[in-house]
Symmetry: D3
Subunit: 124 residues, 6 copies
């Protein structure tokens, strides 16, 4: 069954994060290969694969949370792209981040917007 | 125009938070009445009144963010109820909070679930 | 294999947290039973069951982290008791928490010490 | 010289926090008496005793920081009272906390205002 | 009246942050021009324009808060310069940041001091 | 006696952090030399010099806390090296960081692992 979780998680990771997710996994190969496996199995194989909340809402939730926490810029950028990948519009990403000014302050929202700006520029 | 922002914000506050929002505003009357006004004008009159992201998504975003931050339990409970008020299902609230285990750890998700449990119990 | 993770995690949860861990799991039964299962499987079945770092060090690490974060008092108390359960002395718990004054400030350390005081008093 | 730091810190603690500071110190007697000593020596004997920033500004700084962090309510209340003790007006306390809505979000500012409300009510 | 808030905010932004504030606003033009407007209207037009706390104290409060939060380095640097612009001395900035070692730990204070070092070096 | 704390702290700083610690102290010389002295005296002269918790456990605690807080990357890297210096194995460092996925989320653990990767690469 572990293989099922891994296979399901890997498919979900590719659906959401595309190559960015795979790069993160690859970057762990020399230092913590088991952690790369956990990352596929628990967040993607268990959580993102659950029914009850669609992927668009899940990506809006994570963009909101990482913007508010303000201490995980690389992961925020991966999930801004992930949000776009699953059908969240650029406008919806921007609105989600702007709203965080209310809950985590203007600096958190500003830094989230600058992260979105980089992601949008890379995507062209 | 300030009156417009206030009126628009008050209507939006009532739509989202119902009596809980009004209680917060009332509780500020003796110490910081201007802050009660700002709370209506900026978050509700400016941000929540924007097009581009529907209220369901906005409430999912704030439930996610406050669960992840983990230091604003009263406001998290108000917004769990707010999410229900604008059409987010209990299941979607629970899924949003569970997902935060991935981004802010299991204690944050647990405390979010216990907050939801209280809100659901009060709502009957 | 999922059953193996669950069984291994449940045994580890009982070894570390005793009845406190089981109470947390039971408290999730009505709202998020799958999350209770994940809590057993990932943190306890996967992480705490790993070789390479003994349980004493793992509990010192979590007491340090939860003291520093300062926003998960119930879980900090469970893990202070967990630390004692796996052989960390009261003095070592106190030293770990005191050290957090350096990394997260005196209020975080104070609130950690008061949590330890409660746990020690309950334990007698 | 250690005695000098302790004596200077104790006098400064009493000047700022009055009995509240001494209660905190007393509450540590059974679990971490050395930490009580460090608390007097480093924050109060070293930092608060420095020239270059007056006590009013120091208390405004700490009220701002603890409001923004949002995870140390007891210490925030002690320092709201401390601010009043060294000549910061209630209005200045309220303005400092309100301003934190900009830097840490409205929930942090709200919880800070409710803390101030309690302190002001106790003071009469 | 919205125009009044904007005009008042823009003047206050220029008074406090000078060109740095205007650069932030300009940098939002392509991604979130409304957010640039909110930034001028709410923090600067509403909050910083209030009586009851002078600008020196307001800048000390924000330097303290952003140092303590530790996750908004660009904004901390803007406000260290802002503090200098409204008459806070370099020594007062340094004292404010040093004091945060007590409330948010030595790493937060160290990173705040390094930010100040950069700002002071740029200012010459 | 102040000289005793300083001498004891400097020896402890060198034992744990080697040249990295001394570089931090040197970098404060122009902006806050007293803070460099406090850094040696309180964290290293007072806290790390205490009996009751060995240096290996102390470094595991700080690596855990700084990984979880996620906003002090330079200090995390210094203490990953510090952990290695006092006899914590690379595997133990990695396990400590991985465990933080449970308490502070996967992004915090990932960023901690990437910090470890840099430190290990520099050490060869």
């Amino acid at each position: 069954m572990q293989n099922e979780r891994y296979a399901r998680g890997l498919a979900k990771l590719q659906e959401i994060d595309g190559q960015a997710g795979e790069k993160v996994v690859a970057s762990l190969a020399d230092i913590a290969p088991d952690f790369a496996r956990y990352l596929i199995e628990f967040p993607f194989g268990d959580i993102y694969s659950r029914p009850g909340l669609d992927l668009r809402a899940r990506e809006i939730a994570v963009v909101a949370a990482l913007t508010a926490l303000g201490n995980a810029a690389p992961q925020l950028k991966v999930h801004i792209q992930g949000a776009l990948n699953v059908g969240v519009s650029r406008q919806e990403v921007v609105e989600t981040i702007m709203q965080m000014a209310v809950y985590a302050g203007f600096p958190a929202a500003l830094n989230g917007l600058f992260a979105a700006q980089e992601v949008f520029a890379e995507a062209g």
